[in-house]
Point group: C2
């Protein structure tokens, strides 16, 4: 860890200029506006939202989301779920497959802990019969361990993941989902909760029209699958999915009952490259890497943030120009450096020691590189450090 | 942190099959062979080596390198230097510019600490007069703080960085380096130690011929600069540089006195894409992400390692096929997933729960994603966990 915790705690109240570089900084005002817009959007569309905590990995931000109206959070990893529950988040959905028996034992223990402690609820996704059977075995074993042989106990919510266009996990739409739902219903510790129908690829389609086509196809796949389930007398309690790039479409579908979008809190540079659907709330960039110029040249400057400070899987960061004439383009300078060249409108290259703000291409894996996020109120120019937000689940990949 | 430290300590002696996924695993036998090859190479060429600890960020591995003959380690960040020194590494070179006064104060304190504690030595690179002046101010202030006004004290070694083709930091070859050396010599707490001449781009040139041309050009730039310095009566104590991709050329140059190569310890998938120079030692892949199949389909499988488990800045990981017929290609599945499709020679897709080994495209930023590396001896098939190696400087970016 680069900075001892004691050093972080001393930062509260300090001016934004004093934040060391490179650091991950949240513009708290912008983030809270994003949160308010999402809450309002969900309310208006009368839809649940369970935002993805894989973005921020922070108990504090999860709780802030729940306070704003979210029903709980989604996570991708068992370890993330454990950390959220330990921090006091009571409704957690592992929107992903878990196959390893040792991990499923942890999932089952967590489901029990949630049920006992706070009247909370754990949910998980499946996409194979083997996955259902292993989950049921783990839940049964946890019941035995907890109740010394009693067969009553905690129930875990299970969503069948349907591949609605992502081409990654999930069963094909249609009868395969019915088979899995029937398998789930055989096991008393499992409750068939509905369908996981997330179209990840749609988030990165650039035009609103392309996204409409993709989500229309996802909706059709869900409707087909739901009809087959209903024909077997199986009700689909909830259809859950959607990311920030497409959420207006899932919300308007009449089929999805829950939005998982998470990125709206911070807004990636990559999200901002999409043509905005007019119905989408005006989310703002709220997460920045603060960096400074460490080497200055006639045709370029070099800053102290490379791809150990921000993830570049969805493209390089944008440079957030605070003043006219300071427009720069970021080029890859390796693990610890960024190369800055003049962009359109630029009248001068920044000098040695000048502070700059980068908008990460992809916030989720960027946050995962940092131990803390420094929350600033009052803006990036004149603001002060309000609080230090721990990335509780940084590196929680198991 | 995904796994509490107590859980790691219980892993020693366990079979490789029991390692949870995704995890970062070192094949210790292969790593030690790589280390032995590097030590032998350096000895044969009568050249110092100060491997870059930005790769492994581990005090234990730094000490292992010193034991094998390295003079110390290079780092890129002040925080990395602090962690190495705190761990007992006595010769540390920050092969990078440091500009922020608060960081330079830390650098100066560290130089003093090293000099006092272990007769150690700190070194740093500069590429601007402003950088030299700020460094000198910090060193002077640290002397005043330590000696209550005495002007005697610790000296820091300062290398002038010359841009020998990287196009990032460094002054132009020639007179600009002389200007900086003269500036350094004005300050009693600074000692001009030589030239930093690292050609990063050359590491990624695919053919041996392209690398020969690039390093020949770097050598010419160094020779020119050295002649100008000597004409001013300034001796160049040491020329330092070289990465794993080009080290045979710097070693044979007669100009470079020190190799900074670090990647040889683990060998990136990207390094292995280079045409090997016949003179280069046969370094092996020694770092792997252990992953398992979590979702199985007719035309692909999905594993539980995405780009939160390994860095993809230098390309996607290779799948290390332990058995004939199991050849797979890895496709980007996002933050937490990898998509696997059959590669040439593949006769079957892996089933649910099957363990796989990924060779990261770029090891440096991959290591930075993990809290520990699990050291295995006896190979990836039948081996056992020998030790857990902490990534002490994970996230140390300040």
């Amino acid at each position: 860890m680069s900075t001892p915790p004691s050093r972080w705690s001393e930062m509260a109240g300090k001016p934004v200029q004093d934040i060391d570089t490179p650091s991950l900084v949240i513009d708290l005002d912008a983030m809270k506006r994003n949160l308010g817009r999402m809450a309002e959007f969900a309310k208006k569309h009368n839809i649940r939202w369970r935002p993805h905590a894989k973005l921020h990995k922070s108990v504090a931000l999860a709780k802030m989301q729940v306070k704003a109206g979210a029903v709980g959070v989604c996570v991708q990893k068992t370890a993330e779920a454990e950390i959220m529950v330990a921090g006091g988040v009571h409704n957690v959905y592992i929107s992903n497959q878990v196959i390893a028996p040792a991990k499923l034992a942890r999932v089952a223990r967590l489901a029990q802990k949630l049920a006992v402690q706070g009247g909370g609820q754990l949910a998980i996704a499946v996409d194979s019969s083997e996955g259902v059977i292993r989950l049921a075995q783990a839940m049964t074993q946890a019941r035995i361990n907890a109740h010394a042989g009693s067969s009553v106990g905690t129930v875990i919510d299970v969503f069948v993941e349907v591949d609605v266009g992502q081409g990654r996990c999930g069963v094909e739409p249609g009868s395969a989902a019915v088979t899995l739902a029937l398998e789930i219903r055989k096991h008393p510790a499992l409750r068939f909760a509905g369908l996981q129908a997330y179209h990840g690829k749609a988030q990165h389609l650039r035009t609103a029209q392309e996204r409409r086509v993709a989500i229309a196809s996802a909706v059709a796949a869900v409707v087909l699958t739901r009809e087959l389930l209903q024909a077997q007398g199986i009700e689909v309690g909830l259809v859950t999915g959607a990311g920030t790039g497409s959420l207006v479409l899932e919300a308007a579908s009449g089929v999805y009952g829950e939005l998982q979008a998470g990125a709206f809190m911070f807004m990636d540079a990559d999200d901002a490259r999409n043509e905005r659907d007019p119905a989408q709330p005006q989310f703002e960039h709220a997460l920045f890497v603060k960096t400074q110029v460490m080497s200055s040249h006639s045709d370029h400057a070099v800053c102290d943030a490379g791809h150990k400070s921000h993830a570049i899987d969805s493209g390089l960061p944008l440079v957030h120009a605070l003043d006219p004439g300071s427009e720069l383009e970021y080029f890859n300078g390796g693990d610890e450096h960024g190369i800055l060249r003049p962009a359109a409108g630029c009248t001068r290259l920044p000098g040695l020691g000048q502070m700059l703000w980068l908008i990460p291409g992809h916030c989720d894996p960027t946050v995962n590189l940092h131990d803390v996020m420094i929350g600033v109120s009052g803006g990036l120019r004149q603001g002060t450090v309000e609080r230090i937000i721990r990335v509780d689940a940084r590196g929680a990949m198991s």
